[in-house]
């Protein structure tokens, strides 16, 4: 079953053609890593999936809902599709625990007791239970990002979107975040779309790698095939560049 289906999707920012004829299907439970140079449209693409950016034509179906259909209630999609951002976007006016409990309380109407129990379990899972009553600004970037992941998980989503979740982090923080993401990916029912430059993570966790450049998908391949030998010339150059950069 496809969780996300792009068919001939076009996206413009005014006159700028940001997504050009995107065709992409992501199935239930798949983990797809999206890579490409800066400005290639990775953020734009991933943000269309939960309606943070609108599209102008084509068809985009997410979790059975058609995003271009005026009758579609976008909040129904967002309930089941979480998102983790480069800059965390934790609620600055709420404590860590409140960050995690807010949406389940007011969107899912989860009982207080159960809500708190689930929130604490998630905090244990990301290794930050002791920080429950602090505010986001009191935590390091890596900690904030793990809280952001826990906040998304509290909604029990079917699908999680990650837009460069480790790009704003100090190198020593990256490992902890990737570890949490790997654990999520191991849950075979979770669909994940991850924009990242962490090739180690991609190699280990992704089912597929999608390469984008200038608003177009140039390659969509199994992880194994992609890393063995990218078919597209520019994908190959890009891969060489970031891998040599990593060493």
């Amino acid at each position: 079953m496809p969780m996300i289906e792009f068919k001939n999707v076009q996206k413009y920012y005014n006159n700028f053609h940001a997504l050009k004829d995107i065709n992409l299907t992501i199935n239930d439970g798949e983990t797809v890593v999206l890579i490409g140079p800066s400005g290639s449209g990775k953020s734009t693409l991933i943000r269309t999936i939960n309606g943070l950016e609108d599209i102008q034509s084509g068809q985009l179906i997410v979790n059975g809902y058609d995003l271009l259909d005026k009758k579609t209630d976008i909040n129904k999609i967002r309930k089941d599709v979480g998102m983790v951002f480069q800059h965390f976007n934790l609620y600055a006016n709420k404590t860590i625990l409140e960050n995690i409990m807010l949406a389940p309380k007011i969107v899912l109407h989860r009982e207080d007791e159960e809500n708190k129990r689930i929130a604490m379990e998630l905090l244990e899972k990301v290794g930050l239970a002791s920080q429950a009553n602090k505010y986001p600004s009191q935590l390091s970037g890596g900690q904030q990002q793990r809280i952001a992941i826990a906040r998304s998980l509290a909604m029990k989503p079917k699908c999680l979107l990650f837009d460069e979740p480790t790009s704003a982090l100090d190198p020593e923080m990256i490992g902890d975040v990737l570890k949490v993401m790997k654990e999520i990916a191991e849950d075979s029912s979770m669909t994940m779309v991850v924009v990242t430059h962490e090739m180690g993570f991609a190699r280990e966790v992704a089912n597929r790698v999608v390469f984008m450049d200038q608003g177009t998908i140039l390659e969509d391949d199994s992880t194994e095939a992609f890393f063995k030998h990218p078919k597209n010339e520019r994908a190959s150059q890009f891969l060489n560049k970031i891998i040599s950069h990593e060493d």
Binding site: M83, F88, N89, V107, R151
Partner: protein, 212 residues
């Protein structure tokens, strides 16, 4: 000055009361109206944005006296008879609400865009995101400029004097004419305005410090 207070104490007190009453009513409704139009202006809906923009531009760019006169003169001609106090309070409310809307809108826009995006992708509706996440944070930014708006509003309530609203300014004019002591009368009036505005200014500054 003391003489003025002794001879016209009850008139001054009445005017003082009317000024406070008008200010409190106008402040209450201007804050509500201003916040509503500010939120409409940042909503994704283009039509609502336009409506609120027009409202704000109209009331911000017409002199308060003209708005008040419309309510004092024109409305009674075609609709219902209203007193100078009511006309002045309505005029003051609409006029101030436009400035408050601009202030609140600026506050909302100064909250990092990521806060709204985080809330929306967490499953909250636009309304819930505003209510639980964006507005409480905007509040902090809005307090200092809003304090200025409040003080302006109180000073602007002297518009009531033009439409026989029996406020402090109106009483001042009457007393000045009656006592022939304009200088000390208007000094008394000035002091009475300070008694209202200074504590408010200080309170807002205190609130600002407490929030930061």
């Amino acid at each position: 000055m003391i003489e003025i207070f002794q001879n016209y104490g009850s008139d001054l007190l009445y005017g003082f009361g009317q000024t406070i009453l008008c200010s409190v009513i106008a402040l209450f409704f201007a804050l509500i109206l201003g916040s509503i139009f500010a939120i409409l202006e940042v909503m994704p809906n283009k039509l609502l944005q336009k409506i609120s923009k027009i409202y704000i531009e109209i009331f911000r760019n017409i002199p308060l006296l003209v708005i008040t006169m419309i309510f004092y003169v024109v409305v009674p001609m075609y609709f219902v008879k209203i007193s100078g106090f009511v006309a002045g309070t309505i005029g003051l409310t609409l006029y101030s609400s436009a400035f408050i809307a601009e202030t609140v809108r600026a506050g909302i826009l100064s909250v990092d865009k990521g806060q709204m995006e985080g809330a929306l992708s967490n499953g909250l509706t636009f309304k819930q995101s505003m209510r639980y996440i964006v507005l409480p944070q905007a509040f902090k930014y809005v307090i200092p400029p809003l304090g200025n708006q409040f003080v302006n509003l109180i000073k602007n309530s002297s518009i009531l004097a033009f439409v026989a609203g029996f406020d402090l300014m109106y009483e001042g004019n009457v007393i000045a004419a009656d006592s022939l002591k304009s200088i000390s009368t208007y000094m008394c009036i000035g002091v009475l305005y300070l008694i209202i505005t200074l504590p408010l200014s200080y309170y807002m500054q205190h609130l600002e410090r407490k929030l930061s």
